[in-house]
Symmetry: C2
Subunit: 343 residues, 2 copies
Amino acid sequence: MLLAALSSSGSVAQRFEDLKKSGTSLTLRGVGSFYVGGKSVARTAAQIGLYGNGQIIVDQMYVAYMLPAKSVGTAVVMIHGGTLSGKSFETTPDGRMGWYEYFVRKGYDSYVVDQVGRGRSGFDPAKFNDVRAGVSPSGSQPNIRRIGSDTALTRFRIKQADGSDFPDSQFPLEATGELAKQVVPDMTDMYSVPNPTIPGLSELADDLTQVVMIGHSQAGRMPLEVVLLGKGNIRGIISVEPAGCTSSVYTEEQIRVLSAVPILVIFGDHLSSRQPVGANWGDALADCEAFVSRVVHAGGNASIFRPVENGFRGNSHMLMQDRNNLVVADYIIHWIERLPPKH
Amino acid sequence: MLLAALSSSGSVAQRFEDLKKSGTSLTLRGVGSFYVGGKSVARTAAQIGLYGNGQIIVDQMYVAYMLPAKSVGTAVVMIHGGTLSGKSFETTPDGRMGWYEYFVRKGYDSYVVDQVGRGRSGFDPAKFNDVRAGVSPSGSQPNIRRIGSDTALTRFRIKQADGSDFPDSQFPLEATGELAKQVVPDMTDMYSVPNPTIPGLSELADDLTQVVMIGHSQAGRMPLEVVLLGKGNIRGIISVEPAGCTSSVYTEEQIRVLSAVPILVIFGDHLSSRQPVGANWGDALADCEAFVSRVVHAGGNASIFRPVENGFRGNSHMLMQDRNNLVVADYIIHWIERLPPKH
């Protein structure tokens, strides 16, 4: 099957007819989107690059949802990683079903967000237009992050440091060009701590019942931070390939709070592969092992799942897009099914 | 019913439970997303604000789709307007069904894009990070546009110039705060002509069959430009409240090309309402009337539909979000049903 063809521009072109639609229909009782969070701030016409002084809304967060016809009564919220968007959980780069659709098919009310400052959540242009106008010094402008196409392959453990393939890679290597298209500008450097995505997720959790949060990479720790905010109806947390678990940062009191919520941390394969840039993934795993130990010691339900320990070799950082993505999802669903209900 | 409550931040908070889910289920044979277009360009680590020199993909366009279980065999592509995203066509600000879901329920394979440079399509951060680093002069930085919350209400003819309501407004006035959250940064000023969204739409049209394109406001003329590119499998064009139709710009040869494709232009009510900023909407209508005359004179099928002439008063610029949005959609569907098939 011709999955992808090299276009004249040198990038990979994917044809709609090549997407592998599911063979069975999907019946929904609801589909749509809404925003959570946001505050109104005053801006001049020059700051918003268009006519009219006035207010704009900033820090709002876009949430898309699909609700299955027959719900198991649990809501799953998916939060993408750095320089990515909610697209991470939709159709995979090679056109297979992503976790968003799969969890709906398994009966979960499913919500996919764009982090504040990213994608359809938007951002405040004032600091950029102020620099353009010469009103503010250039150094005051926030850094905008994107990850390079090839850098992502190494950082996400899709390829080895020398550019060669892992012989057992689970990532669809023929579609790395499509993954590169999913990379969008990341405005994280605009925001002070906590990133507005955290209170946004908290507000979303308050809106829902029996909430399980799945955070990936940059967002791997965000559900923990929502719990530490002291509100949010969180029944369980799945942290997929977090950049680390900041095990030594949490106070005993914080660990006690976190121990009240079941936590599953997931890591793929090849964690010791050499990284030309960025931190070592083995260190992230070790940090999370230490974190899990602290939570368990405090009486909590925390564990680490690695597909490689169940015989699945070659999982990348993008577990939700790997060829065995639905097998990994099945493990998560099995874990969710055993969670006690949240009262 | 309590639709929306004023939050402490002064913005409107919408609760998920307040969204009016459809009472009947929706059965899909496919749902997902993909990218069209895009080219690979070289950037330094400083330009992408992160480690690693290398390539990134720019000018790609995000496309979400829902395919009904029973399709009428026509694809509808929806393109949002300026400083907005594909969200325009999803759940309305007051939580009702948008055109995206409605067209699927009516049997249309439906596609909603984020214009290049907007939302999940992303943009190239290099020109911004170059200015931040002092490598480029501040004036070289592209302007970023957002429309102000109150300015949008006047420009979109949701409120009168003095801030008072139109007594007969079709827009859900209790939810203007939610509309303000849908406004995202518009990077149009980064791009030369044609905006990369045009070839992106062309590539998308080539991928599909029996394509009807619905462009709103800023995107109202884009389907015409796709046809003028000389490719694209376009069966019909609906231009919803275009900022104008550039009637005097097209050559006779271009009008001849455009006359081969059926065109419907739609305008709401209150076109003569005073605009404190921006062009007069009455001028846009007059321009489109002149355009339609030229196309009809060349033998084409072009017309203007105004709900007000069918007895519906008070439609705003955001016809896809007005209270009678599905009535307007029904008129569009009636028009589509009469189109000859595209061979």
